[in-house]
Amino acid sequence: MINAVLVFNNNGQPRLDIALQQRLLQQIFNLVANRPATACNFLPLPPLLAGSNSWNTSDADEPITLLYRHYATLYFIVISDSLESPLGLLDLIQVFVQALDQLFENVCELDLIFNFETLHATIEEMIVGGCVVETDLNKIVACVRESEKVVKKGHGMRPGGGTGAGAGRGGFMGGDLVWTGR
C-alpha cells in the first residue's frame, strides 16, 4: 500500500502533499537534498518514521520504503509499505511525470504550482486509497483530460491554465529521459 506521495522542489517547498506533517516533510527533504546524484533512489527512514530505530531495519514489523526521483527542480517521493514493489514504484513515478508532461505539454514546476488541482487529479487517477489502480499512461491522460473538460464546460475557462508556459521547448518523448523505465 502506498502511504503518501509527495512532490516538492529543490528548496523543500511542497508542490503536492496530502495531509502530511510539516516536520516529516522537512526531515524527508533534509535526507533527499543531501544525496549525491549517483546515489540510489531509496532513502533511509527519517527519524519520525523510523521510530526508535536509528535506521531502517528490514526485520521491522512493517518495513517502510521511501523512494524518490529527482527531475530538474522537483523531487517526487513515494512512501510505501513492503507490499509494493520498489522498482515498480520507481516506474510509477516515471509514469506520473510522463502523464504530467503530456497534460501540460512540457511540464515545469510553475505549471504544477498554478495547477495543483490537475496535479491532484492526475495522482488520483493512478492511486486510489493507497492502491495503484492504473499504470497505463494513455488511460490516465485521457481520464484527466476528461475531467478537465468538465471543469471548462462548467466555468468557461481553466483557472490559470498554462501560465507557466514552457511552450516552444522540445517535445518530451524526443528528449533524453533521466531514467528509462524498467
Binding site: 502511504n3 549517483t38 527531475y71 493507497g130 492502491c131 489502480v133
Partner: protein
Amino acid sequence: MFEKGLYELIRGIRANKGNERNYVLESLKECRQEAKSQDLNIKATAILKLIYLDMFGHDMSWASFHALEVMSSSQFRQKRVGYLAAVQSFRLDTDVLMLTTNLIKKDLYSPSVPEMSLAINGLSHIVSPSLAQDLAPDLVSKLTHSSPIVRKKAIPVLYKCFLQSPELLRTCWPRLRECLNDEDSSVVSATVNIVCELARRNPKNYLPLAPQLFKLLTDGGNNWMTIKLIKLFATLTPLEPRLVKKLVPPITNLIQTTPAMSLLYECISGLIQGGLLAGIQDTEEGEELASVCVTKLRGFLVEGDSNLKYVGLIALAKLVNTHAHLVCQHHDVVLNCIDDDDISIRYRALELVVGMVNPDTLSTIVGKLMRQLKPANRDYVELEPTGSEDEDDMQEEVMHPKKARGAMIPLELPEDYKHIVICKVLEMCSRDMYANVTDFEWYLDVLCQLVRFAPAVQVEGTAPEDAEEAEEELEELIKKRDVGEAIGKELQNVAIRVKSVRPEAVRCAEMFIVGRDGVFPAAGGGGKRVLGDSGWIVGEYASLLTNPTLTFDSLIAPSSNTLPSDILSIYLQSITKIYASLTSSFSIPWTSERKTYVTLLTDRVLRFLAPLTISPNLEVQERAVEFQELFRLCTEAILAQPPSNTTEIYDPPLILTQAVPSLFLGQELNPVAPRAQRKVPLPPGLDLDEPINPNLPSLIVAADYNPSLTTDDDEDKEDAKFREYYYTKPATTSIPKNQPASHGIDSAAARSSTAQTPLSYQNVAEDSYLDADIIARRKKERQERHKDDPFYIFAPGGGEEITDADLEAIPVMELNLEDVPHAVPQEVRKPVRERVVVVMDEGIDGDDGLDEEEEEKGKDKKGKGKKKGGLLGVDASGLVGYSLEGGEEKKNDYEEEKEARKEVERLRKEMEAAAEKVREREEMEKAAAKKTKKVKKTVEGEGKKKKKEKKKEGETEGEAGEKKKKKKKVKKEGEVEGDGAEKKKKKKVKKEKTVEEDTQAATTVAE
C-alpha cells in the same frame, strides 16, 4: 473589493520576497472574509487559496464548514475544489464529517463519471467508521457499474471502509470476490491488490482463492498485477505448503522470460519471502532454483544501476539466512558494495555481510570495514547542485534536467553509520559464540582499534529544566549510544570465556585504564564507556596484570572521580581487588620498607575514597563507605604489626593476607545463561517474603543507642572484637574448593528431583567423561604451565578443604631457578589448536533458556504489532485475524484458545479413563438393572463429549454405540454448542465430570 485568485496569491507571495509571512497572514485574513461570502465562486476561490496555504503549513481546519459548502456546489469545478479541501483538511474528528454522508451518497449516483470518481476518491481519504457503514452498500453497487474506471476506483475505497469497520468485510466479500472475474484488467488488478492487502492481515481466509489466483498468474497479465499476485502467494504459502510445488514452475518461467526488472526482482523476492526456496531447500531442484536466483541477484549487483544494487542486497540479505553457502560464493561483489559511494547501499551491504561471514572471510570483511572507519580515509562523491528558487529555474522542464553537477566533496560518513559499522563488526565476530573467530589475539587487537574509532556520542534534544535530572538522563543516553559499552562487553566476554587469551585481554583492559589519553579518539569523547568493563577485568584478573602498580595508580587518580557513577562503582571494587593482590603476598617479607609501602598504599586509597563517601550516587556512596571502613581496619592492623628486623621475623598482618583476599578469591566467575537464575527452583521451606529477623527495626534502633558499637573509647575491647571477627575465618569462606558457590542452590534441586544434578557447574563436563587420573594429569599440566608464573597461586593438595590449620601449613613456594628447564617456553606455547576454547553460558540441566527467550520475543512482537499506525495513519489492526466465516469468534484469543484446548484434551483423557472403569463395572454389575440405567446415562454423557471432540480435532474414535435415538439428540446439542466459546465448553466438561463422579459414587454405593 479586489479579489485575488490563486494565481495572484502565488504571484504576490513571490513578489514579497523576505516578507512572505506578513503577506500570507494578510491573505489568510482576506480568505477568512471571502470564505464567508454568499457568492459560491468567491468562496471556492478562497478555499482554493486556503488549500494552497495549508500545503505550507497554514492550518485550514477552521474552514471545514465552508469547504463542505463548496463540496455541495452543483458546478464540477467548485465541487472539485471542495473535495480537494476535504481531502486536505478533514480528519476523523472533524465534526462536519457526519454531514458529508448524504452529499457523498448523492455524488456517488451522479450521472457524470468524473463527478462520481471525485466522490469515490474523496471518500477514500476521509472515510470514517460511520461513513463506511453508511456508504459501503453504495460502493458495492458501483462494483457492477458500466464504466471500468468507476469499478476499479470503488474497489480500493471499499478496502478503506473495511479498515474503518471490519465487519463490513463479511457482507461485501462475496461481491468483491466476483471482481476477480471482471473483464477489465485494471479492475482485476485492483481486486488482486486489495486481496493482497487483506491476505496480509489474515491469510487463511483467502486460501480458497488460490486456484483462481493461480490461473491469473499463469495467464499473465500486466506486470503490476503479476507482482501483486506473487506477493499474495508469498503470504499464502506458509499456510498451504502444497502451493509451493505448484508455484515453482510458473515463477521459474517468469524469472527466465520476463523482460521487466521489477517483475524479475519480485519473483526472486517472492520465492525467498514466501519460504518457497526454504521449502524445497533439500531437493536438487530447490538448490538449482536457489542458485539461479543468486546468480540473477549477482547480476543486480554488478549491473551498475544503484537501485538494482540496493534491492539486490535486500533480497540477498533475506536469502542468506537459508542459503548462506550460495550467497558466500559472491562475496566479492558484496564486499564491493560495502565501499559503495552511496550510504544507503552501504547500510544494506552491511546488513547482508553479517550473515555471510565464515571463519575464512571474517578477517577480510572486518578489515574492510575497519578501513572505512579510518579518519584519513575519505571517499569523494558528487553532490547534486541545489538550485536557487527563481523564475528561470522553475521553468526548467521537469523532463530535461540540467546536466551540470556539483563539485566533488568528501564523503563524510555520518556518525550513525560508524556506530552501526562497529556494532556490526562486534555482531559478526561474536556470532554463535565466536564460531567465526579463530584468532582471539587478533580479535582483541580489533577491539582496541575499534575503541579508537568510536564515534562521538550524539545526544540530541535533551534540555529538561532540572539540571541534575538532565545529567542523569544524559548519562543514560550516553550509555545507550556509546559503542564503548558494547566493546567493553566484548572484551569482558573474551576475558571470561577464552581462557587462552585472558592475559592478553587483561593487558588490553590495562591499556585502557592506564593510557586513557592515547587509546581513545582524539575528539568527540566516544568509546569512554569501555572503561567500565576494563575496570572490572583489571580487578577480577589482577594477578594477570603486567603492571599492577601503574594500573592501581590510574584507578585511584583523582580524575577517576569525574567518571560516570556506574563506572566509578566498578572502579571502587577493582581498586580493592588490586589492593588485595598487591598486599596479600606471603612471600614478601614484612620489612619496614614493605610496611611503609603498604601503609602508603592504604592511605592513598582512603584519600581517594573520602570524597566518594558523600557521592550523590547511592551505589558509589555505599561501596565507598564500605571499603573505607575496610581500609581503616587495614591501616590499624598494619600499624599494629611491627616490621621484621634482624632478630625477629613478623608476618604481614593477617587482614592483608587473609581477610581482604578472601573477599574476592574463591570460585572463578563463569558465564551464566541469562535465564538460568529463573530456573533455579526455590528450596523448600524458603519464604522470601518472610523477614529474616522480624525485629529488625528495633534492632537497628537498639544498635543506634548501643555505646559499645558506636563509640571507640574502649579500644582494647574494640580491637578484640575486630580480631575475633576478622581473624577467625568465617564459615562462609571455607566452602570446599571443588564446590561452587551455587552449590547450595543446586543441591536443593538435586534433593527434590531424582535426576542426577551435577554438583558443580564447572567440572561437570570433565568429571562426567574423564577418569580421575586423567583429570589429575591435566591439573598437573596446568600447574606445570604456570610454574614460572610468580602471580599464580596454587591450592596445595588440590581440592582439599582449606582450614585455618591448613593455611598455616602451606609451604612457601620456593623458586628454584635451576629446576626451570630451558624448554619451558615450548610448553607454555601450546600447539595451535583447531578451535579456541570458548566457554559457553551455563544453565541448569543444559538448558540455557533460549527457547524461552524466543517465546518472549514472539510475545514482544505480538505486542508490538498491536500498536502501529501512527504517523501514516494506516491502522489495519481491526482486520488482523478477522475471519470471513466465523460467528462470534473473537480475534486475538489465540493464546487463550490454545490453552483451553489443552485443558479440554486433558479432561477428555481423564474422562476416557474414568469411562473405561465405568464400563468395566457396568459389565460386572449387569445384574443390577436399576443401577445400570444410571451408568448408561454416564456413557451417554461421554458420547456427547466425544462428539464434540471429534468435531474439533477430527479424531476417529469408536463410540460407546448405544441408544441411537438419544445420540441424535446429542448430536444436535453438540452442533449448537460447537460455535460457542471455548470457555463454555470447558465449563461443560467440568459439569459432566461432576455428573460422572456422582454416578460413580452411586455405583460404589451399589457395590
